[in-house]
Amino acid sequence: MSPATNTVTRTPLLPPTRAEYCVIACAEAWRDNGEVLASPMGAVPSVGARLARRTFAPELLLTDGEAMLVGPDGSPEGWLPYRRHLTMVTGGRRHVMMGASQIDRFGNQNISCIGDWERPTRQLLGVRGAPVNTLNNPTSYWIPRHSTRVFVEKVDMVCGVGYDRVAEHPGAARFHRIPRVVSDLGVFDFATPDHSMRLASLHPGVTVEEVREATGFELTIPDEVPSTREPSPAELELIREVIDPQGLRDREVKG
């Protein structure tokens, strides 16, 4: 197909949806990570990781969700059963983006249970790999519905370890890093003197006030808050037509 035909037949792209800004914000977590495994949990991070792999981070490794490492077209390039996956974690050659039922100002995360651990009011997944992840490889988080129920002053069970807790263990802290937290409202990081959470960018259409109201603790908010970057037309086409034509991203983030 010649470029000329391309321009003539293409219909104008619809503007990016909120879910698509979230995809971009997640994809950016894996920029310049080198030859590491991108481990996305959730639909939006999965689309983001595959977008990064196909565009600005071709050296990333991805799995098929089971035990195979696969290329962008799904063809196998390696074997990664759980036992080797765990070595990838402890070897540090991985950047995971986990979910969080609760997260606090210092990035402590909970996916185990709500209420008293002895007899929880709501049993969730269990700690899973959050303790090993946070102490060994970069761990980011994805929160599809930003609210005061998730962004809490104190989590009920520390699964993923935050900056304040790890500071008490200098030996164990050396591989600890939480590069970013992405929610449906914006991007957050811990680039503050005490490593408490900071608003790093707002998704277009979201106000600082909205973020404040949906957050259960004091956030650091810079004087100038940038916007989450725009997806390029090529990225939008990849997301919509190649990576996620079924629109799984829209089921996770509405609007």
Binding site: E66, L125, T134, G171, R174
Partner: protein, 284 residues
Amino acid sequence: MTDKTMTPEDVVSRLRSEMTLGIGGWGSRRKPMALVRALLRSELTDLTVVSYGGPDVGMLAAAGKIRKLVAAFVTLDSIPLEPHFRAARQSGAFELMEVDEAMFMWGLHAAANRLPFIPVRAGIGSDVMRVNPGLRTVTSPYEDEATGIRETFVAMPALRMDAALVHVNRADRSGNGQYLGPDPYFDDLFCEAADHAYVSCERLVDRFDDAVPQTLLVNRHSVTGVVETPNGAHFTSCVPDHDRDEPFQKLYASTPWPEFAERFLYGDEKAYQSAVQAWHEERR
């Protein structure tokens, strides 16, 4: 060569109440469900269950068989939260040793290698230490070359078990087991970490002539008994023999336990498989 074949009932007759049982597989994948169903039919109780938990834990919890659970999670994979495990935890039905996935693996390694513990970084700083006051730490005798720090680790204790139950695709009569799916999970370690291991399989074979060497996961020296249970991992996945039975798993997750047990678990394994088949036929 000793013929180690037996029935699910034979396996259960060798187990006792209050034993520590390891269960192989991962989540809702390649679980020895036929052996779990045999446990459900038995009088055994007060078990300590060690598992990367799926419906094995859910069913044993629903039937009130568990005194203590050692796990990092319990999930049905395509249904993230196991309903019966949740209910049991929310009613305080059993004791829990909640550890991280990697800590769990190193506990199996320690047990298989006859070590009292293995040092792991995972767990430090997390509430795994708060909810397991028995977990101890150990400080490295070596200084880190770069920092000079002698790092403190969790001394993950060996997860030694009285018996392990695992399910594989093929096995021979002497206890060699072969997996044909993408992931061995930790089934070989479970067998080596237990005093006795019982391996159920989709199909018994006489020989492994054409086997890809790496598929021969479980070796007979670590196996006490072999059980042929076609579709024995049902409703969990056991590829390439069978995928997870998603509609049935949905039914399991949405049906009150007494009703589910009455319809599907009233008889032996054969009765279970017929009841499942009948349910699928009704839906057509």
